[in-house]
């Protein structure tokens, strides 16, 4: 398998994943126009369907009249004409002998002809086993054959025929359409529809009190039930914009394949807390033009624990990603930065810019590797100016000796951080950051950060550099990331870059009074945020509440986390 291919969603669709359930406002259960018109419309349609069924019976004496009483049962979710989806069975008494089973007891027996209109479109064994599954008595079909589009066979006695008649219209065909359901699911759906938001909330449908009270089992992970839901959407609310299918034990999305056709305006799909195991399932609904897709609480998130918020947080704090679509002019670069500037200093760089980079140990994988190289360029200063970097520069185009190639690639966490700790102290201009998300799978996030920094000590104090840095990260706890590969390009800044560098004030993390903190406190804060996985705001709160006692704050944090008392928002970055 192509585990490193950028399968699943294209990496650009960063805003299509999220981890929070619907915002509260969308959860309101309103009574839109859906409710009012639904019932009468459907009833009328059901009646029409009932008439059509009579026509199927060719005027034969139907067993149903003896056993089932009047045909009061209507079909509320009648398919549109030309798309017959239910399976009908008619039963006709046949005089005479037939087949090998006839006259076994020496006497004449009644035969019953079973007819399934349009039965020819189904696979014989599937059809027969479907009927058998629902039929209360075992039966042996005799002389199974097709007559035009009809499938026909015979059974030997009235009891079997009667049982078969009961099966009629309870079978779900391959168009996922089940006829056995009656109106209660629909009432239940109208109750769950918010017309003002065009939002249908089918979360935990199976345990809906109304349905449970009526012993109606709507199990959305069965094709039949999902088919009913899609049909109701198509017929009644094609304008649907938001659909919540959370907590319905969905383990695959095949049954949603038609959703893009039935609800073309859908923008928000909540699949939270289901049993989806693979990202590939999402391919089945890729026809949807979604703005939000919620997937938290599915096994597919386990490999990237809380992947969605993780990626969102990366995109949010590190700048932005790229936009999808083929560029009109490939020579005109796109600036994906938010004009408002980034919302805060990435935790990684607040540690990187501190006086001691040991705190980065928590950001790297045990088997991480890191290398640095100096690209040539018009603005690359004389060699001695980048001296601090040149001794570690790894350019395998020039460097052919395998031993040196190996030596210049720093490997394992301790070596990587020790190496980074030796590089000149820096201050990064977060406003200059541009992030490209290069690849994204559920085990890997590969992104490139471009930006500007200046050196803050040593001989080259205040020299402004430009950098391009490629990270490959794997998921880590607390929706964090753990870096496995790190490649850093450092070059001199161009005059344009020099002009813009540090022109804007560095943003501070939202609503936290970081500037009032001492240098020591800021370092402690950065380290605490890195270690706990909480954002700066909550990390600071935790430290403040513990009088900046790092150890105590850590203990309190661990305890509260164990007890599940730390809200998710504390980890949003």
């Amino acid at each position: 398998s192509q585990s490193t291919a950028t399968g699943g969603f294209p990496p650009s669709h960063d805003d299509r994943v999220g981890s929070r359930p619907f915002p509260g406002s969308r959860r309101r259960k309103g009574r839109g126009p859906f409710r009012g018109k639904l019932y009468s419309e459907v009833t009328a349609r059901g009646r029409a369907r009932g008439r059509a069924r009579n026509d199927d019976d060719d005027g034969d004496v139907a067993m149903a009249e003896a056993h089932e009483g009047p045909r009061g049962r209507y079909v509320p979710y009648a398919p549109r004409s030309g798309r017959l989806a239910n399976i009908n069975i008619t039963v006709k008494r046949e005089p005479g002998e037939r087949g090998g089973g006839a006259g076994r007891d020496g006497g004449r027996r009644s035969w019953f002809k079973i007819t399934i209109p349009y039965g020819k479109k189904y696979d014989k064994s599937w059809l027969l086993s479907s009927i058998q599954n629902l039929c209360s008595v075992p039966f042996t079909p005799v002389e199974f054959h097709y007559d035009h589009n009809r499938a026909q066979f015979y059974v030997e006695d009235a009891t079997t025929a009667s049982a078969l008649k009961q099966v009629s219209r309870k079978i779900t065909d391959r168009d996922n359409y089940k006829v056995g359901c009656s109106h209660p699911p629909q009432l239940c759906m109208s109750k769950r529809y918010d017309g003002s938001q065009k939002a249908l909330d089918l979360k935990s449908l199976r345990v809906d009190p109304d349905l449970v009270a009526q012993s109606i089992d709507v199990v959305l992970n069965q094709r039949s039930s999902m088919g009913v839901v899609l049909r109701i959407i198509e017929d009644n609310i094609p304008e649907l914009q938001s659909l919540n299918l959370g907590s319905n034990r969905l383990f695959r999305l095949d049954d949603l394949a038609e959703l893009p056709l039935k609800a073309p305006a859908l923008k928000v799909l909540d699949l939270s807390r289901n049993e989806l195991k693979s990202e590939r399932e999402l391919d089945k609904v890729k026809g949807l033009k979604l703005e939000e897709l919620w997937l938290d609480g599915n096994p597919l998130c386990d490999s990237f624990r809380d992947q969605s918020s993780y990626i969102r947080s990366v995109l949010h704090t590190w700048g932005v990603g790229q936009s999808p679509g083929t560029p009109r002019d490939p020579l005109r670069p796109r600036d994906p930065r938010d004009p408002q500037g980034p919302p805060g200093t990435p935790v990684y760089y607040s540690v990187y810019d501190s006086s001691d980079r040991q705190g980065l140990l928590d950001a790297y994988h045990d088997g991480a590797c890191c290398s640095l190289s100096i690209p040539y360029g018009p603005h690359t200063p004389p060699r001695n100016s980048l001296n601090e970097y040149f001794k570690d520069s790894r350019n395998v185009k020039k460097l052919k000796d395998p031993t040196m190639r190996f030596k210049l690639l720093k490997h394992t966490r301790l070596n990587v951080v020790a190496f980074l700790n030796e590089l000149p102290k820096t201050q990064h201009d977060v406003n200059s950051f541009v992030v490209d998300i290069c690849a994204q799978t559920n085990t890997l996030l590969c992104f490139t950060v471009h930006g500007i920094f200046k050196e803050v000590d040593g001989k080259s104090r205040d020299s402004v550099r430009a950098f391009t840095r490629m990270f490959i990260a794997v998921p880590a706890g607390n929706s964090g990331l753990c870096i496995v590969n790190d490649e850093l390009f450092v070059r001199g800044a161009s005059p344009e870059e020099l002009r813009k560098a540090f022109a804007l004030p560095t943003p501070t993390p939202s609503s936290s009074p970081v500037p009032t903190l001492s240098a020591e406190q800021q370092e402690m804060l950065a380290a605490f945020a890195m270690q706990s996985g909480m954002n700066l705001e909550w990390s600071q709160k935790c430290l403040q509440d513990n009088d900046w006692d790092y150890g105590q704050a850590g203990q309190v944090f661990t305890q509260l986390k164990l007890e599940g008392k730390i809200p998710e928002v504390a980890f949003l970055k």
């Binding site: 950028t6 294209p10 670069p333 590797c369 040539y376 395998v396 290069c438 890997l444 813009k500």
Partner: protein, 141 residues
Amino acid sequence: MAASVDFKTYVDQACRAADEFVNIYYETMDKRRRALTRLYLDKATLVWNGNAVSGQEELNKFFEMLPSSEFQVNVLDCQPVHEQATQGQTTVLVVTSGTVKFDGDKQRYFNQNFLLTAQATPTNTVWKIAGDCFRFQDWAS
């Protein structure tokens, strides 16, 4: 010690792949542009100056639209990608830097990086691009 010996094998392999790949890639880019997408996996994504292009068809369209080029690579670096990130699929990170002159445009400096995955064939191993990210150094000016 054994682990680092293994790691050195990976590093050597990554360097060989990078050396070979870079020559093929830029030569194809400059001289046989039509064949370029063959170097990409079907599901590969290219992020070009901040624009994402995905899939063979889109890539073909994109490279057709891109003016003819003369690439000069000055710096090349590579790393074996940690297996935890790739679920065991042998993958190499390749980064390049150099100059490019597109027809009708001035000479520019660029940075580019690739994720290459090893595709085993009956006779040998072929490296294909799973991810590609390109930016002009002076993209903002």
